[in-house]
């Protein structure tokens, strides 16, 4: 009797995560699709519209989509190679004593609140860009990219290092015995063997970058223009939501949820693409 009841309780607890997911997706999609379904707004105008002026009933998020895309890609291009190389260094090359100090320190940094990366970005990176590139305002796409790239480093390093360390020793020995150089062994044998873990590291770092909000607000500048250069002030999707949610109501608020849907789809898509790349490379 008690056994049966407890089994049910456990099942219910497990189902709560399904219920939560359904609630979240349901609420965000319901709210976000309302303007297009019931109020006659065009979804295409929303996605490709250049102007976001809620007071004039204009809701176009194309510049934000572009900003989010550029910021994420830029951070990936900078952060992934540096992160992976650091992970390889720690797992394969670094003297044991050095790795023993650095690895836990990097792991620790993965847990530091992301806001602090934003604070650092605003205090150091933004003025640096402003002075050295002769900008009017240092808050820019480039600043966002730098902050996000730094922020994703600890995540990528930690996860990728674990994956590389998990590669069986015999792979290395086999390759070395065939006369390959240590460096050649690392890049030809060890890294490919750790591929799925490395992909996971990239996906996690990516998730952190694309979803980051508060740190980005501090360094993005938040202008509503279509970015044409790295030094333009930008407003990615996440910051749009956070900046306006406080006072938005009615259609304006629903449009913020619609922005959320786009962000959501963005993440699903990128994960999907990366998973595809990963599985293809694996074959």
């Amino acid at each position: 009797m008690l056994e049966k009841l407890s089994g049910r309780v456990f099942l219910f607890c497990a189902l709560l995560s399904v219920i939560s997911l359904l609630l979240i997706v349901g609420f965000v999609f319901y709210k976000g699709s309302h303007p297009f379904v019931a109020e006659g707004y065009s979804f295409l105008d929303f996605i490709f519209g250049m102007d976001w002026v809620p007071s004039e009933d204009k809701f176009g998020i194309f510049p934000m989509i572009v900003a989010s895309l550029f910021a994420t890609m830029g951070a990936l291009i900078l952060g992934v190679p540096v992160g992976l190389f650091t992970a390889i260094f720690l797992a394969e090359i670094a003297p044991k004593r050095v790795a023993k100090i650095i690895s836990p320190a990097v792991q620790l940094l993965a847990g530091i609140p992301s806001v602090l990366y934003g604070v650092f970005g605003l205090a150091i990176i933004v003025p640096f860009l402003q002075n050295n590139l002769g900008l009017v305002k240092g808050q820019s796409l480039l600043a966002v990219i730098l902050v996000l790239a730094i922020m994703m480093l600890p995540t990528i390093v930690t996860v990728a290092e674990t994956a590389i360390r998990a590669v069986p020793k015999m792979y290395r020995e086999g390759s070395l015995a065939l006369g390959a150089s240590p460096i050649g062994t690392i890049f030809k044998v060890v890294v490919p063997a750790a591929k799925s873990g490395i992909m996971a590291a990239i996906v996690l770092g990516l998730g952190r970058a694309i979803g980051e909000t508060m740190a980005v607000i501090l360094v993005a500048g938040n202008s509503l223009i279509l970015p044409t250069s790295l030094t333009d002030s930008v407003r990615p999707l996440t910051t749009n939501i956070a900046l306006e949610m406080g006072y938005a109501f009615g259609t304006h608020q629903e449009m913020l949820f619609a922005t959320g849907i786009v962000l959501f789809s963005f993440i699903l898509l990128l994960n999907f693409v990366l998973a595809k790349i990963g599985s293809k490379g694996g074959k």
């Binding site: 709560l16 995560s17 190389f85 320190a105 604070v119 050649g184």
Partner: protein, 274 residues
């Protein structure tokens, strides 16, 4: 030629590692350098005042509130859910669905959680911008963390413990709370500590659900500011980097202590053989 390439690659590896370490040291170093002058007894334990740098005691209390409430809900649910998945469920559609949902929850960015919390807990359930609304949102955020770490911990409990106990004529429930859960405890505790780190570091979701009132909360239904949100707001509103960095030091110290605790617990409990 091959030798040159090897040297080049090796150089890149060293350079990358140096860069990573340097950047991270600079960040932490900068925050400590900028903020340490503000840290004193009154700063930590004083009440907030808009003039000067103000105390941060209300933000610490708010942060503790959110940790306490979300964990008190998420921990039992998460552990029992993991028990269901590992010990009770027959592998099949339902389990796959639950696993899929848990994984998906991990991937949702916190701003989306914030949106959901703002419309569901704040508006629909009429909690208003409040500690409770933020805590419930955080509960959903940390639930997958607790489920996953508990599942991992349960996986490490040898099957022979289960068989040994059941063969002695005990019920599944007795076996669970006398043998399985105690053996899995170090892993579960590390998961809980990990969750605390996540809660402390969270900002976007709290920003949209707890609001930004900089005062000692009257209770769980009042709007308030956590440490991270405070650090964000003083930077954004007044550009007070010094204050933001000082709050940052407090945050980093908290994370340090939590990490230390997690390692200590898992080491200590693993070494002692019971």
């Amino acid at each position: 030629m091959r030798k040159f390439k090897d040297h080049l690659l090796r150089g890149c590896l060293w350079a990358s590692a140096f860069l990573t370490v340097a950047v991270l040291i600079i960040i932490v170093g900068y925050i400590f350098y900028k903020g340490f002058r503000l840290i004193d007894f009154n700063f930590i334990f004083g009440d907030y005042s808009p003039v000067g740098h103000g105390g941060i005691w209300p933000m610490i209390v708010t942060t503790l509130y959110t940790i306490f409430i979300s964990l008190i809900i998420a921990t039992p649910i998460g552990i029992l859910a993991a028990v269901y998945l590992q010990e009770y469920a027959k592998q099949g559609r339902l389990v796959r669905l639950i696993r899929y949902a848990t994984e998906s929850l991990t991937g949702i960015p916190s701003i989306i959680y914030g949106l959901f919390g703002a419309v569901f807990f704040v508006t629909t359930l009429k909690f208003g911008m409040s500690i409770i609304a933020a805590s419930l949102t955080l509960t959903i955020i940390v639930l997958p963390v607790i489920i996953r770490t508990t599942e991992e911990a349960l996986k490490t409990v040898p099957q022979s413990y289960r068989e040994g106990s059941l063969a002695l004529g005990t019920t599944k429930l007795q076996t669970l709370y006398k043998v399985i859960l105690p053996s899995a405890m170090p892993g579960i505790l590390s998961g809980i500590i990990l969750s605390i780190g996540r809660i402390v570091g969270e900002s976007a979701a709290i920003f949209l659900t707890a609001g930004t009132v900089a005062a000692m909360p009257d209770g769980i239904f009042s709007s308030a500011r956590t440490l991270t949100v405070h650090s964000f707001l003083v930077t954004q509103e007044s550009g007070d980097i010094e204050l933001a960095a000082a709050v940052g030091i407090v945050l980093i110290v908290i994370i340090l202590i939590l990490n230390f605790l997690a390692t200590f617990i898992s080491k200590r409990l693993n070494k002692a053989d019971y």
